[in-house]
Each structure stands twice: as C-alpha cells, then as structure tokens.
C-alpha cells in the first residue's frame, strides 16, 4: 500500500538554501556566503558592525550526586551592557544542559540545532542519546565551520546510562571530557573559588552554594559578567533549576553592611 505522504511534507522548498534545515537535519544547514575574495576581512568587518554579545562566566562540575551547572546573565557589546537577563544555560532536553559563552546567537542556534538532533536520535534509535554522543555531534558541526568566525565555548552537561557526564566543546572543534570546567572572561576568578572549595563528596546544597559563590566572585571582579547567577543541578531524574539570584543582592548577603563605630563624628557646618 503506497502511503500518501504529501500532507506530511514540511514547508515547500521555494527557497532552496533556507529550507535545507527543515528537509535534511542529518546534514548541517547551508549558509549563504558573501561574494567576496577576502572572506576573513569581510567577516572581521561584519562582526565589528553587528557586535555580537559576548563576555561571560559559566562553570560546571561533576560531584558525587551529579553535575552542577551555573552561569551569570550579562551580555555585553563592547562596553555597553546589552542585556542583564540572558539565558546562558540552555535546556537541550530534560536531562541535558548546555552553557553559553562567546557569541550569543552562535550558541543559541547551535544548541537548538543540537536539541533537534538529540530528539531525532531518540526517535531513530528508541533510546536517549548519551552525553558523549551529543557533545560529539556538536563538536563535529563546529569543526566543519572552523575558521569561519563562529565563537562558541560551551559545556554539555547531562546524566545518561553511564552516570553524570561533562564535556567542554569550542568553536575550534575542540572537545574535552572533564570533572570541572569554567568558560568565559570571568572564568579565572570562578576557577579560583571553585578549585579551592571543590570536594568530590559534597551534598547538593553544598555544591550549589560553591557554584553560586564562584559565579558571584567572577561577576564581582569581571566587568563583562553580572546580572543573575543561575544554578542548575543535573541528577538521575534530569535537570532542576535550584536558584536564580541577582548578584547585587548576593553581595550584601555574603558581605552584609556592619554598622561601624565612628572615631570622630562629623559636625554639620552652618552658614557658608
């Protein structure tokens, strides 16, 4: 019996290049390229002009109970803060998270694309994709766009059959498996706090507090990081958002203002 699949076809291929994402998910989407001899120079100028949002602090670490993922929420375009409420922890699917560092559009788009690929894998193979597999998919895509100016520094964190998984993937196509990572302009500060306080056998609350403090300290010292410190936990039942705190308020929570004794009171001067 020949099934009539005409009704199931997606958007009519009127513009070939734009609809390749819809028709062929297995292949990477094809992009229109400028008609110029100097591709790199053009990209350099174009990026100057569009000024994508960058500057960030993200971190993730594996501990006894699972994976802890945290990030700030500031997006800066040069010296201008373009947003204080960017979602830098992207929910790929209910048991996998991705963090965003580098170009906001690049990270958002490729994580969304990765989520689609993971879902297709589930449908094709009747089982969830592993963290290893998902990070490899992303790394291979980014490798194929190597040298074209994408800016992506992401961590893929999740829980699969082998337990907690954490990978670092970047726009060079690099992919590293590890226990602790921090990415972004604020990462040196976050590493300082994170490496100092890390123990494998922490409870979920202790790990969350460590992650929160690390992000807070990075936002304190790094001008390109700030906003809201979000902390997510990935466990055997998937991810759960634990907290979202404004870093300004965290400051006064960690370092409350103590009324101090004054040695010499200032006297009001009357007249002029």
């Amino acid at each position: 019996m020949k099934l009539d699949t005409a009704g199931m076809e997606s958007a009519a291929p009127v513009w070939g290049s734009h609809n390749e994402l819809v028709d062929g998910f297995s292949a990477a989407p094809s992009f229109e390229l400028p008609n110029t001899t100097d591709f790199d120079g053009f990209q350099k100028e174009a990026i100057q002009m569009v000024k994508p949002a960058k500057g960030t602090t993200t971190l993730a670490f594996i501990f006894k109970e699972g994976v802890m993922v945290a990030a700030d929420s500031r997006a800066s375009m040069g010296g201008y803060i373009s947003s204080q409420s960017v979602k830098k922890i992207i929910e790929i699917n209910p048991y996998m998270l991705g963090t965003m560092a580098g170009g906001a559009a690049d990270c958002q788009f490729w994580h969304r694309n990765l989520g689609i690929k993971c879902r297709l894998h589930e449908l094709a193979n009747k089982r969830r994709i592993s963290v290893t597999g998902a990070s490899k998919l992303l790394a291979n895509i980014l490798y194929s766009y190597r040298g074209m100016g994408l800016s992506v520094g992401t961590m893929i964190a999740g829980w699969d059959e082998t337990g907690p998984g954490l990978y670092y993937v970047d726009n060079e196509g690099g992919r590293l498996k590890g226990m602790r990572f921090s990415v972004g302009s604020g990462s040196p500060y976050a590493y300082g706090v994170l490496d100092n306080g890390y123990r494998y056998d922490m409870s979920v609350e202790e790990a969350a507090e460590l992650a929160r403090r690390a992000i807070y300290h990075a936002t304190f010292r790094d001008g390109a990081s700030g906003g809201v410190a979000s902390v997510y936990y990935v466990g055997p039942n998937g991810w759960k958002k634990l907290s979202g705190d404004d870093v300004g308020e965290l400051h006064y929570r960690y370092y409350p203002v103590m009324p101090s004794t004054v040695e010499q009171e200032m006297v009001e001067v009357t007249g002029a």
Binding site: P34, P52, Q84, K87
Partner: protein, 223 residues
C-alpha cells in the same frame, strides 16, 4: 605599490530608534520615522514598523534595505504557515522564526536590529529583542537603534522589571496601564530626539491589545 582596500561596503546605516514595551494585556511598539544616510536625511516619513501577523509587530532599525528584505521574507514564510496550518502564527513562534532567519545569514548578516512585540496565546504582552545575527530573548521592554544607549537607561529606571531568570519566578511585564506606557514612550522619544541626530521628525506608535491593532503619530523635533 601600496595595497588597495575595497571602498565599497554592502551595508549602510539609516539610523533611527525603536522601542517596545509589554503590558499585562497590551503591547506598545514605537519607532521614529526619520531615514538618514550619513549626515543627510533621506525622508522624514519612513515607517520602520511592520505587521507580521495578527498579534505580532516588528520594528527594526539599521540598514533599511536589509530590513525590507527581512520583512518580505518573514511575510512570505507567514503566508506559507497560514496555508499549511490554517491559522495565524503566534508571537513566540514568529520570534523563533525571526531568530532562525537572521542566523541563516550568519556569514553575511542582515544589518537589522529588531524588536518584536505582540500578544502571546494567553493575551499577555510580550516583547522579544534581537541582535543582528539572531540571538533573542523574551523581555518586558527593549529598545534598539541609534538612540538605544540613550533610551535604555531611562526605561531601566522607569520600568525595571525583575529578571525572568530569578527563582522564584516573577512577572516581567510592566504593571503600567496602556495610556501610561504610551505616555512614557512619547517622553522617551522626545528626549532621545534632543541628543541623537538620527532620531526625530515623527514618532509612530502601534498598540496591540485584545481589541486589535491601532496606530498613533506624534511630532518630534525636525532638526
């Protein structure tokens, strides 16, 4: 022989500012109507606002030729959607379509800085703000364009809404009434026109609420 650089750029900046503010049951989108190139004014009467769907309106500043192309592309995709699904696209759906459309030109970007405003499926106001290559987020208010650095701090001061990332979650839309929001926008553009040479002439305001879409105009400084 000294190296020669290409003097021709495919891009130009036509200036102007756009603002959008979301309320509990309305959304206000506004943009000035001045179109300039360099120090010249090309026209005082150019609309930067485009209705993409019944409850979804986009305002864009930047290079208006790219904006026009982008609007046409989105309108065409919306028509296809309507043929296939027998309904209008919702604002959040259009928001993601715009993001993908912008990212497809990642290596030859649309020089277009957009704000999308409308009502979501529950009738609540929503505003989405974009960068030129498609990164987007849902916010309570936003501005783009040449006057954005002047306008944004003022909006932050008057409308500062709690971040959608806070836990426990708090509402991002402004508690202001529709008339107050429109008044605020008029004030904002009047101020921006004082200090930004690319903003002025006339202000076009589009208001979307349960009754539909309506348009208002206000004169701005013409110098």
């Amino acid at each position: 022989m000294p190296k020669e650089q290409a003097n021709w750029s495919p891009y130009d900046n036509n200036g102007g500012s756009c603002v959008a503010v979301a309320g509990a049951d309305y959304c206000v989108i506004a943009a000035d109507t001045r179109m300039s190139t360099g120090y010249n004014i090309l026209t005082r009467d150019y609309s930067k606002i485009c209705k993409l769907a019944d409850k979804c309106v986009m305002a864009s500043s930047g290079f208006q030729a790219d904006v026009k192309a982008l609007q046409k592309h989105l309108a065409a995709r919306h028509l296809i959607y309507q043929h296939q699904h027998n309904k209008q696209m919702s604002c959040p759906a259009m928001a993601q379509l715009l993001s993908n459309t912008l990212y497809y030109k990642r290596f030859f970007p649309y020089y277009s800085f957009n704000v999308l405003g409308g009502l979501d499926n529950e009738g609540k106001g929503c505003v989405f703000t974009y960068d030129a290559v498609g990164s987007y987020e849902k916010v309570g208010y936003s501005c783009q364009g040449s006057g954005s650095t002047l306008i944004m701090p003022f909006l932050d001061n008057q409308l500062k809404s709690p971040s959608p990332l806070l836990l426990p979650a708090q509402d991002a839309v402004t508690p202001l009434a529709e008339a107050e929001a429109i008044d605020l926008i008029k004030t904002v553009f009047a101020s921006a026109s004082e200090r930004d040479i690319y903003t002025g002439d006339k202000l076009e305001i589009v208001v979307i609420n349960a009754d539909g879409i309506r348009r208002e105009y206000m004169d701005l400084r013409k110098d």
